[in-house]
Structure formats: C-alpha cells, structure tokens
Amino acid sequence: MPEIRLLKVSKHICRDVDLTIRDGEVFVVVGTTGAGKTTLLNVIAGVTDYKGKVLIDGVDVNGVPPQKRGVGYLFQGLALFPHLTTASNIAFGLHARGHNKRAVNDRVLTLMEMMRITHLSGRYPHMLSGGEKKRVALARSLAPSPNILLLDEPTSSLDHQTSKYLRSELLFLLKKLAVTTVYVTHDLREAEEIADRIAVMSKGKVEQVSTPRNLFFDPRNRSVAEFIGMPNIIECTGSRVLASGLVEVESGDLRILLPYDGNNLAKIAIHPEDIYLSDVRDPGPALNRFTGRVDEIIHQGATVRVKVSVDKMMLLTEMTQDAFEEIAIEQGKEVNVVIKMRRLRYVEA
C-alpha cells in the first residue's frame, strides 16, 4: 500500500502543508472545525484544485483525475446515491471500472457480508439508519479495492454506543486490509484509539505529527497543548505494585493509583476535565482523593479552569460553568480533589 506525500500544498485555509503519510499506516488528522482537515482529504483525492504537489508512492499525481488515483473516500455527509439501493451503491465503483457482472455481484456480496449489511441489500438510503448508512458508505468506498482510504469523520453523528462499536470494527478492518488510511476527526479520544500517528491541524497548518502517546506527553506548542486539553503531566519519582494490575505512583508527596501492569512508569498525564473538585468530602473509598488549595479561577465562556495546588504540585482542572456554580469554591480556599483513575495516560520509563 502506498506512501502519500504532500509538498507545499495550499488550498482554502491550508497553507504550505508538508506531510508524509507512511505506507499502510492509520494516520489520523485532528483539529477543530475549519482547521482544514477535509480540504486535505479533498486534495489527496483530487476532487479539488490546489497548489503544491501530491506524491503517491513517489509519483506526482498532480493532474491525475480522482478516478485514477486509486483512492477510496468516505465523505463526511456520506453522499450515498439516493436513487440507488444498498447493493447498487456498493456496486457503483465496480461498474464504473468496467468489472463484469459476476465479479461485481461476488464482490458486493463479500463486502455486504463483511459489513453485516446483507439484509439491507435492496433498501434505499432513506430507509437506513445512521449506522447502517455509514456501513454502506464504507463498503462502497472499499469496493474498488483502493490503495488509499480517506475517511472524513466516519463515526460522527452517531450515538455514543454505535460510534464506539463502529470504531472498533473499523480498526479491525483497517488492520486486516493494511490499506494506507487518512482518518479525519475532531475527537481526540477517537484519534488516540485508532491512530498509528496523529497530525494536529490548526488554522490550515499542521502543528505536530507524532504517535498518540508522544502527543499527550510532549505537545510541541501552546496550540497543540490547548487542543489536547492542556493535560497535567506528572513526573513519577517512584512507584510500587499494590496488586496485579494496580500501581501506586509517587510524585513528590503525591500518591496516585492507576491501573497498570508493571512497575516502570516515567510520566502520567491527567486531563483537566478528569479531575473533580468538590467543596465537601464525598463518601466512598479515599482512592486518588486529595486536599488542595485554589490558586486561580479562569472563566472561559462555557467552561471554567481552576488551578489547584496539591502538595506543592499545581494541577489544572476544568469544568462546565454550571458545574462550577454548584460548588462553593473561592481563590485561596481549601477544596477536595478527586482524580478519575480510569482515564489516566502514562509513559513507561
């Protein structure tokens, strides 16, 4: 499967984007709305004009029309052809490429079985649910066996459960097909789950490309740090195994428990929204519960960031304005701090 290189690509908000997507990897592009993520996919697919160069396996494909780039593209709005049934939608690309009827039928059947949509074969798009439409669109983009797969927000506008389920299936499928995939999402957790590497885009520029873990522990600049949610990075000075799969990490006087099988942690990252503040001590086991002092309260529209000192360590926390109004905290006062155990990220020594 091919390597994709973008050299000084400019289109709309995107300015001089240089990017290399490795052969067979799942490359996730994240960024806020309007960052230029979809534009990047359109450029690779060749469905828009652009400045700069796109190389596929070292071959300059500028001027090569979309139908000859060997790219499968799952558009954000899916764009299932409304006048065609599920089977005909999937078969479209095969017919367009001149495959014979029998080969088309076999391939369509295989894909419908793989995506578990055989029972939807004769239905039109308006008769399908959101999740079913996504499966049909994915089968359609895979039908001509593309070398490159472009996925634009493939799990957006689905309920949490369906989205999670589809994501795990997608991950399995992408690894099985070993197709070079460029996956666009605005959801960082989704990116982290599925990516071999992540590119963070902001205002048309690629701010950082790295593995998911490095992104959280080593954001290159303020823009990336803001996008990944300004995680609190805690250096581990020691750790001990409490039980199988449970470790107590030391950082100064702070002791944090986290589920981990081993005893060699270097750093842990805690997202500001994974730290809860409370003016009263909640009942329950005292795991990852501390007492801190409010240093600073920063109002940011719908959210509030609170800086809290816990045993000489400053932790950044974040909550909604509504949640903030429900707790009586003031600058300089004591506050109860709870760190959500399951959402901790770590880096090994």
Partner: protein, 258 residues
C-alpha cells in the same frame, strides 16, 4: 383567519380566476359548432401541427438545455454571466419582437445563405419549430439549472473517486437525480410552446393548412368575428394542454427518494 387559511384562500383565488375565465367561454358555446369545428380538416390539421411542433421544439430545447444547465450549474468559465443573463431574453422581449428578430435575421446575408443552402424557415413548419424553440430554450435551461443546483456536487465527487469519468458521473448520478426537474421543465416548455403565438405568426405567418397552429387559428377566427368557433378552439387548446399536463404529473408521481 389563520395564516394557513389566508394562504389556501390565495391559492383558490388563483384557481378561481382561471376557472371563471374558462367557464365564461360556455356563454358562447354551441354543441353543433363543437362537432363542426372539431372534425373540420382545418382544425384537425391545426391540432396536429401544434402538438407535433411543440413536441419537436421541446425535445430540441431540452436536448440543448440539459448540458447547458449542467455547465452553468457546475463550472466557472469565461462568459458564464453573459450566457446566464441572455437566457432571460425570451422573457424580456415580447414574443412578437422575438419573431421579428428571427425574421430580420433571415433577411441578413447569413440568414439568407442558411435559407438558400439549408432549411427554409420563413413561412414554413420549420419556422414554427424555430419560433417555439427560441421562446422555450432559455426557460427550460433556467428550470433544469435550478434542478441541478439542488443536487449536491458531492455526489459527483464521490462518483469520481469510485472510478467514474466526469461524463459517466453526469449520466449515472446527476441526470437520474435531476429527472424530476427535467420532466417538469419539459412539461412547462411543451405547454409554453403549444400556446406560442407572437413569434410563430411573425416568422411562419398564418397560412391555413400550412402554418396555422391552434393559437393562430384562434386569433384568425376571432379576427373574423367567429366567436363560437373561437370558443371551441380555445376549449380544445385548454383541454389538450391541461390533460397532458395532468397525465404527466400523475406518471411522474412516486419519484421521490426522500
């Protein structure tokens, strides 16, 4: 009165206006005149001529309008605004002026050459078709363009990434999706061509059994004060027009993908 009530009342006012005009024809209606007029060779010729000419001119205009509308809807090109604006020409100038423009053209050297070496348009059946074509071509292009503007360009982009050439994407995606719009444009163009009078009489004249379409026959009867005959011809024109529109409307039902 509620807003819903007011809007429905307005639609019935429009209906009522046309219904009163049609019903008022019956004041001068005579059954015996109907049979005489209906089965006269001259009337049957006018009906046949009108239907055939309107069908040919509509077919030709839709044939040109579909690709033109696609180009105007999808591409940016030099002179696009000029092309887009001139589509309105038949609506800006009166049909008689349009016919006069055609007549003047065929008296220019180029027009004369076309008449001498190609097809004779002035005072012939071809003139009727041309007059109707010129009148409806802009309208059908405008209507089909509106239908194609409604179809997201994304569908064609998807088709392209799946391996379809621009032409194949147009034929397999855009054309079927704009079918309703094309049918509607064809119906309206045909109805407009069937009732076309000003341009037709200017270029093709009003020769009985040669270039006398139904609207021209109506005018000729009225000019010679044959009110009862005029009424019968109007009723024939209205019946043909409305029944075909109604049939096509029924046939194109259930075409929605939503």
């Amino acid at each position: 009165m509620t807003f819903k009530g007011i809007s429905i009342a307005c639609s019935f006012t429009t209906f009522g206006l046309y219904a009163v005009l049609i019903l008022s024809l019956f004041y001068f209606f005579r059954t015996e005149t109907l049979w005489d007029a209906l089965f006269s060779e001259r009337t049957l010729f006018s009906i046949r001529l009108s239907v055939v000419a309107a069908t040919i001119s509509t077919f030709l205009s839709v044939l040109i309008a579909v690709p033109s509308a696609f180009a105007l809807s999808r591409y940016d090109f030099a002179g696009k605004k000029a092309v887009d604006t001139i589509l309105e020409l038949p609506m800006i100038v009166s049909p008689a002026a349009l016919g006069a423009m055609l007549l003047i053209f065929f008296n220019n050297p180029l027009g004369l050459w076309i008449q001498d070496h190609g097809v004779q348009f002035v005072f012939t059946f071809y003139g009727i078709v041309l007059a109707q074509f010129v009148t409806v071509c802009g309208v059908s292009t405008r209507l089909i363009k509106a239908a194609m503007d409604e179809i997201p360009v994304r569908y064609e982009a998807v088709a392209r990434t799946l391996g379809a050439s621009p032409g194949k994407a147009f034929l397999t995606i855009t054309l079927p999706l704009s079918r309703r719009g094309i049918v509607a444009a064809s119906i309206l163009s045909w109805a407009k061509a069937l009732g076309e009078f000003g341009a037709t009489i200017t270029i093709a004249g009003s020769m009985a059994m040669k270039t006398e379409t139904l609207p021209i026959a109506i005018f000729m009867r009225l000019a010679s004060a044959e009110i009862e005959g005029t009424v019968v011809l109007i009723l024939i024109l209205v019946s043909i027009g409305l029944s075909i529109l109604y049939i096509v409307r029924i046939l194109s039902r259930g075409d929605s993908y939503a």
